[in-house]
């Protein structure tokens, strides 16, 4: 790997650049399309950005595409509420579940652990019918809780925190007991702050997971008020014989990409830290 052969360097760079271009080009096209009026996109597709950037994005955010009946701004808000709800919910529930499994002795502890673990094998798609039935019975269709709650149980995060908690020395727990703290204090004062790098890493993964949810929001929402952005984009395309508002759709697509990108940019440092080191 440390050999320095010029042609090898050239080859690796060429490969990487090619990869970047393959990934980046569709995004560039999307961006270009979002800066032109509709007629221009449908007649002769330009390869350079046009002058309708502000106009298109403003239209998307405040008016939306004609058929859907709700603005992209509203849908972004919905997506954000769902994504943050899922992220914080998952982290909180997983922390508590892992805490229970690692630190408390109760009947069938291992049984519950394996039960949680097995759900790893059951993604939303597999259990979507029963989940829908339960959500309907609980009157959670067309609501934020309906968007969030069925998705906040996370075996992956629980497992991750369990593994982390098991590396925390027992003496810390005992030191807190001697210092006069109970289980709640130990959890909030010691365990949660110690897990913060893992939490940050999970935050990035889970936010993107939540933001990109498609199937569940599609099924659980009928009221446009609760559409998330990803469903909204799909709905904008369902125009039948009519003409889709491509410039608005492309602008919405660009907007849909921004929050995950921002999360990655701002949390990058903590993310890498959480993946590679633990504070001890």
């Amino acid at each position: 790997m440390v050999e320095h052969r010029p042609w090898l360097t050239f080859l690796t760079h060429a490969l990487l650049i090619m990869g970047c271009v393959i990934i980046a080009f569709p995004i560039y096209v999307t961006f270009v399309a979002s800066t032109h009026p509709l007629e221009k996109i449908t007649s002769y597709f330009p390869l350079l950005p046009g002058g309708h950037l502000i106009e298109n994005y403003r239209a998307a955010l405040t008016v939306g595409s004609g058929e859907v009946g709700v603005t992209v701004g509203r849908m972004m808000l919905n997506s954000a509420i769902m994504a943050f709800g899922i992220t914080f919910g998952k982290i909180f529930i997983s922390l508590l579940a892992a805490y229970a499994i690692v630190y408390f002795k109760f009947r069938f502890r291992m049984f519950f652990f394996w039960l949680i673990f097995i759900t790893l094998m059951l993604p939303v798609e597999v259990r979507i019918l029963p989940t829908y039935d339960v959500a309907a019975d609980l009157k959670m269709l067309d609501s934020y809780p309906g968007l969030i709650f069925p998705l906040i149980a996370s075996a992956t995060a629980t497992f991750l925190f369990r593994q982390f908690f098991m590396t925390v020395p027992d003496e810390l727990c005992e030191a807190v007991r001697i210092d006069g703290g109970g289980p709640i204090r130990f959890f909030f004062d010691i365990l949660v702050p110690m897990s913060r790098t893992s939490i940050a890493a999970l935050f990035v993964i889970l936010f993107i997971y939540g933001w990109h949810q498609y199937l569940w929001p599609l099924i659980v929402t009928n009221d446009e008020k609760y559409y998330t952005l990803l469903i909204g984009i799909k709905r904008m395309l369902d125009v039948g014989e009519g003409q889709a508002d491509w410039q608005i759709i492309m602008a919405s697509t660009m907007l849909a990409m921004i929050p995950p990108v921002l999360v990655v940019i701002f949390m990058q440092k903590q993310f890498v830290k959480g993946m590679t080191e633990t504070e001890k």
């Binding site: 210092d179 703290g181 110690m194 913060r196």
Partner: protein, 360 residues
């Protein structure tokens, strides 16, 4: 500050009894060391006093009050753990203040106590650091600071120096002793290191397999070990043991080769004629042609340590191996014959069956 009393304390894990009834009265301000090899249950005893382990049977009193059912926090104790158990995400200051904050002490009082403790332990300049930015010795001090600020009735130490290097260990040992003399708080200290035990303790509890083999001052334990186990555990190199016959009048012992060693005072006529175990410490042999008991050692090899010399060899009369320690530097060839003598008061006689000391 308080007395700590153990009354016939037992501990069972599942069906496995690990502590078989320990009793000890520790006086206010005393420094008690629980000493024993690993796995003898010494940490378990400490953890029962701390309240981290349930007491299966018996009672633990702190300051005259039965604490069996009290939570660790309610027992008013403070503990230093082997790995220090500092809270890694808190600064030194917060580590020390945490216990006080939980107890809702006013901020000004917390600050005063932390500053005072930091001064005593020379930690003032490190108060804003995180534990991982400190050296082992400094972490150790923070762990002690966390205890000092609490001003508890009892300090508990669980092998606090075993993670430090040898030089630092000596230094911290002295500091712990000094701290104890300043604060006069009842302290219970668990260790497997006999040097720590001898230097720190006012009294030792020597533990053997879940039993308290002997409770006494360091010198008592050294000079009059109660069992073969204690005799062999205390002292380095370990005591030499050999099976010997008591003479018919009980006034001397006869070694395998026929050598007679006279016993102190009247000897032990009650055990006359019995086979017993004789113990002699390596440092109690003297190189001399004269003296009451004369032995001849054939040298196998000698280790020159500088301050003294360890000679490993066997008696000429039989093959009993033994180690002796002579002051200053000696160079001996293999098979050199050394004339040795031992004073009567340095002979320890133990019952062969029970291992208990037979007193003269």
């Amino acid at each position: 500050m308080a007395d700590v009393n153990l009354k016939d304390v037992y501990k069972t894990f599942g069906n496995n009894e690990v502590i078989h009834g320990i009793s000890c009265d520790m006086k206010d301000g005393e420094f008690i060391v629980i000493l024993g090899p690993s796995g003898c249950g010494k940490s378990t005893v400490l953890r029962m006093i701390a309240g981290l382990e349930v007491i299966t049977k018996g009672e633990v009193f702190i300051d005259g009050e039965v604490v069996n059912r009290l939570e660790p926090a309610e027992r008013d104790i403070a503990m230093v753990f082997q790995n220090y158990a500092l809270y890694p995400h808190m600064t030194v200051y917060k580590n020390m203040a945490y216990g006080l904050r939980i107890r809702r002490m006013p901020k000004a009082e917390i600050d005063k106590r932390v500053q005072t403790a930091a001064e005593i332990l020379e930690l003032t300049e490190f108060l804003d650091r995180k534990p991982r930015q400190l050296s082992g010795g400094q972490r150790q001090r923070v762990a002690m600071g966390r205890c000092i600020v609490r001003e508890p009735k009892v300090f508990l130490f669980d092998e606090p120096l075993s993670n430090l290097d040898a030089k630092l260990r000596v230094q911290m040992r002295l500091e712990i002793r000094k701290l104890h003399e300043d604060l006069k708080i009842t302290s219970i200290y668990v260790t497997h290191d006999q040097v720590e035990a001898m230097t720190l303790g006012d009294r030792l509890i020597v533990m053997d397999n879940g039993y308290a083999a002997q409770v006494g001052s360091p010198l008592e334990v050294y000079e009059r070990p109660a069992t073969i186990f204690v005799a062999g555990f205390i002292g380095s190199p370990a005591m030499n043991f050999m099976d010997v016959q008591l003479s018919s009048d009980g006034k001397s012992v006869e070694l395998n080769g026929g050598t007679h060693l006279p016993l102190q005072n009247e000897g032990m006529p009650s055990h006359a004629g019995q086979t017993v175990t004789l113990g002699i410490r390596p440092e109690h042999f003297e190189l001399s042609e004269e003296g009451a008991g004369r032995l001849t050692l054939s040298v196998d090899y000698a280790e020159v340590l500088g301050a003294d010399t360890l000679v490993h060899g066997h008696f000429v009369e039989d093959e009993t191996l033994l180690t002796i320690r002579l002051p200053a530097i000696h160079h001996f060839e293999k098979k050199t014959r050394l004339p040795l003598s031992v004073l009567s008061k340095n002979l320890h006689v133990f019952d062969k069956e029970s291992g208990n000391r037979i007193d003269t």
